[in-house]
């Protein structure tokens, strides 16, 4: 058991997906350090603005700031700040290399190859990432100006590195991101039309409501959900292998910090729509059902296929939800409870009853990203049912970007700012990206790739299998010629220090001696 976390020492984006807490707008910008002294001074001045992981009320906006601010550094950035060599040497290899040289591992080839990335990523000059989230755009702008004025006071020691491709192909100094709005309200949708960002992992001490544990933690031998070890996500704490994650020295530099992946993932919306429209003609089911068979969740409300595997079941589920909601609205407490229990099943499920993938295809996106104990194909073969998953979990952060300017095509700017956090970039993000998204041996599906984010190239064998019920009379359905639906447009690996470490970095007193 880990002791309670010092939430005031941990940056807020580690424990919270701000989007879910009522911050649908964000601006990400990247800093370049030109003078380590002034850069350190800047960090010291920024420190009071940094949002910590202190607990907020789950509902409503009272007790929350109007905007948040967080900062993280690349390896080059830590070097530019003048961290001692011995501290630098303690960082893991993939972090030191950065994202570009990892292209062969990550499947960043063809249109996703680093030479096509936004200009901000060319060269090795991205030193820090700063994010500002806000309850509304104006609050983002306000906070951004505050940070900007600190930059202006840095005597040229810090500058914003421009070069983010914007809506008209123009280059911007920052990357704006926003939830997709429908009828004036922010939604959890992304630009293909899927409901995204459901089911982040639950770890010990994360400060989230324990009611959120089921479906988000790990599965024990007894078949119960338990929180994942803190050390899977935050350095300086014990992880699932009963040890402290590898971390740089001194302890105070690493403790309560973690690593972050930032990726700008462009979505080829036109290609997606054309592909789905075309395939839907041959598919025995609705367009929505076909979309669900690729992702594992129904696009409209994110219901998992384990709960409703086809159009008829989905209609039934929707009707039941409608009835319960109506009754609950009328004050029926029993119905309200049932509704809540039903909604919990959006997250709380496994593939135990669906080994063949007849409901949720074995290669569906959510089944790849979070295997939910399905790799233990023989009961009690492993130490625990989710033993192969527990060390591959990702804390997903980020928001969609673009898409505000009329009909989306492949050329227009829209996609997802994908961010994920964890104590090991290599063991968690890189493994999932390489072995589970762009390869399928663990699923016994050969070289098939994820239909949505895989590095597919439109060939016959770039495919996704929608498995059929072995007892039924239907054939499996093959989604062939999958095009490259998502392209990487940039990104890097970052270290998110604790408040203590930031303070020490600002003072220039990080000392592993």
């Amino acid at each position: 058991m880990n002791r309670p976390l010092d939430l005031y020492d941990i940056q807020g984006n580690i424990c919270k997906g701000y989007g879910r807490f009522g911050f649908p707008k964000a601006r990400y910008f990247f800093l370049e350090f030109h003078d380590s002294g002034f850069a350190r001074e800047f960090i010291g001045k920024l420190l009071p603005l940094i949002t910590t992981a202190e607990t907020w009320p789950a509902e409503g906006l009272a007790g929350k700031p109007r905007s948040t601010t967080n900062i993280a550094f690349t390896y080059e950035g830590l070097k530019a700040l003048g961290l001692p060599q011995r501290s630098l040497d303690g960082f893991p290899q993939e972090f030191k290399m950065g994202m570009k040289p990892r292209a062969a591992i990550l499947g960043d080839d063809g249109p996703s190859a680093p030479e096509h990335w936004d200009p901000v990523w060319q060269g090795d000059r991205v030193h820090a990432w700063v994010s500002v989230n806000g309850q509304a755009k104006e609050f983002v702008e306000q906070r951004f100006s505050e940070v900007e004025s600190l930059i202006n006071q840095s005597h040229g020691g810090v500058s914003i590195r421009p070069g983010h491709r914007g809506p008209d192909g123009n280059l911007l100094a920052w990357q704006d991101a926003s939830a997709v709005y429908e009828n004036g309200k922010p939604t959890p949708k992304e630009h293909f039309g899927y409901t995204d960002g459901i089911g982040n992992p639950y770890f010990e001490g994360c400060g989230n409501n324990p009611q959120r544990l089921a479906g988000r933690g790990k599965l024990t031998k007894e078949g119960k959900w338990a929180p994942l070890a803190t050390g899977e996500f935050i350095l300086g704490h014990v992880d699932e292998a009963k040890e402290y994650p590898l971390a740089p020295e001194p302890h105070l530099l690493a403790r309560n910090g973690t690593y972050m992946v930032y990726r700008k993932l462009h979505e080829n919306v036109q290609s997606f729509n054309d592909y789905i429209d075309n395939l839907a003609r041959d598919f025995d089911g609705s367009r929505d059902m076909l979309m669900a068979k690729l992702s594992g969740r129904w696009p409209d409300n994110g219901a998992p296929l384990t709960l409703a595997a086809n159009d008829a079941e989905k209609a039934e589920l929707d009707a039941r939800m409608g009835q319960l909601k109506a009754k609950a609205d009328d004050g029926d407490a029993c119905a309200a409870g049932q509704l809540q229990a039903l909604q919990a099943r959006w997250i709380d499920f496994t593939y135990e009853q669906d080994k063949d993938g007849a409901r949720c295809p074995v290669g569906a996106h959510i089944r790849r990203a979070n295997t939910r104990a399905s790799l233990e194909t023989t009961k009690e073969a492993f130490n625990s049912p989710s033993a192969l998953d527990d060390r591959r979990r990702l804390l997903r952060r980020g928001l969609p970007y673009g898409g505000e300017h009329g009909a989306a095509t492949d050329e227009s700017e829209q996609g997802i700012i994908f961010m994920c956090l964890g104590a090991s970039l290599e063991r968690q993000f890189e493994f999932v990206q390489q072995q589970w998204m762009n390869y399928s041996n663990d699923f016994k599906l050969g070289n098939d790739r994820d239909a949505l984010i895989g590095a597919n190239n439109g060939q016959l064998t770039d495919k996704h299998i929608v498995q059929a019920d072995p007892q039924g009379d239907k054939a499996p359905f093959f989604c062939t010629h999958l095009p490259r639906l998502v392209e990487t447009r940039g990104g890097d690996y970052f270290f998110i220090p604790s408040i203590t470490a930031l303070d020490m970095m600002a003072q220039g007193i990080v000392d592993p001696t």
């Binding site: 041959d282 016959l460 064998t461 062939t480």
Partner: protein
């Protein structure tokens, strides 16, 4: 204690290398260099040796010292050429296949092995390897024990058939049937020698 699992065989051999040198190169280094120069994959001499699933060659220079006050310090007096292989079938025919099909390689790699100068023919070679063989304590077969030609043929057909299925998903039954008949004829499923992957093949050619 068995070298076998069904028809799959696990061969483990440690062949001592003579202590000595030629110019500035000791015999173990010459041997290692020759091994490292072997072509890989379909160009490997093992691709020519029937029924080899996996094989490896390395030089064991010494054993490891596990560090600490409470541990003895062991050293080997000879360096060993370690040759191990997983294959289908019996040892004798396998080694005969090795001698017959990779003779130059065998002679060159084993040239400096102790007492190998007395090896003149396949019977000598079999006897030699058996003297260097160690019994496997536990052999885990996580694959199949079929003939290699069958493994390769079935892999070829797996590749071809999945491509066939994808290419004919929306065809009428009569079209599908005609195409399937043609496909099966093309596959020659009884013929393990042709229309197959070759040993060590690293590139695919697609059918559709």
């Amino acid at each position: 204690m068995s070298n076998r699992s069904g028809k799959a065989y696990a061969l483990t051999t440690l062949c001592p290398i003579r202590n000595g040198h030629e110019g500035n190169m000791s015999f173990d280094k010459i041997t290692r260099h020759r091994i490292q120069l072997l072509e890989e994959d379909s160009g490997s001499p093992f691709a020519r040796i029937p029924n080899t699933y996996f094989a490896r060659l390395f030089i064991l220079n010494d054993v490891f010292f596990e560090q600490g006050n409470d541990v003895h310090h062991d050293h080997l007096k000879s360096k060993y050429l370690v040759f191990t292989s997983n294959f289908h079938g019996d040892l004798k025919p396998y080694l005969k296949g090795m001698w017959d099909n990779a003779n130059d390689t065998v002679r060159s790699i084993w040239e400096h092995a102790v007492a190998f100068d007395k090896v003149r023919n396949s019977d000598d070679f079999i006897a030699y390897i058996r003297k260097c063989q160690l019994t496997t304590s536990l052999f885990f077969n996580g694959s199949t024990d079929d003939e290699l030609r069958f493994q390769l043929k079935s892999l070829y057909i797996k590749q071809a058939f999945s491509e066939f299925v994808l290419a004919h998903q929306n065809k009428s039954t009569s079209e599908l049937r005609t195409a399937f008949n043609e496909f099966m004829q093309q596959m020659q499923s009884d013929n393990l020698n042709d229309v197959s992957w070759i040993p060590g093949q690293t590139r695919l050619s697609h059918l559709y």
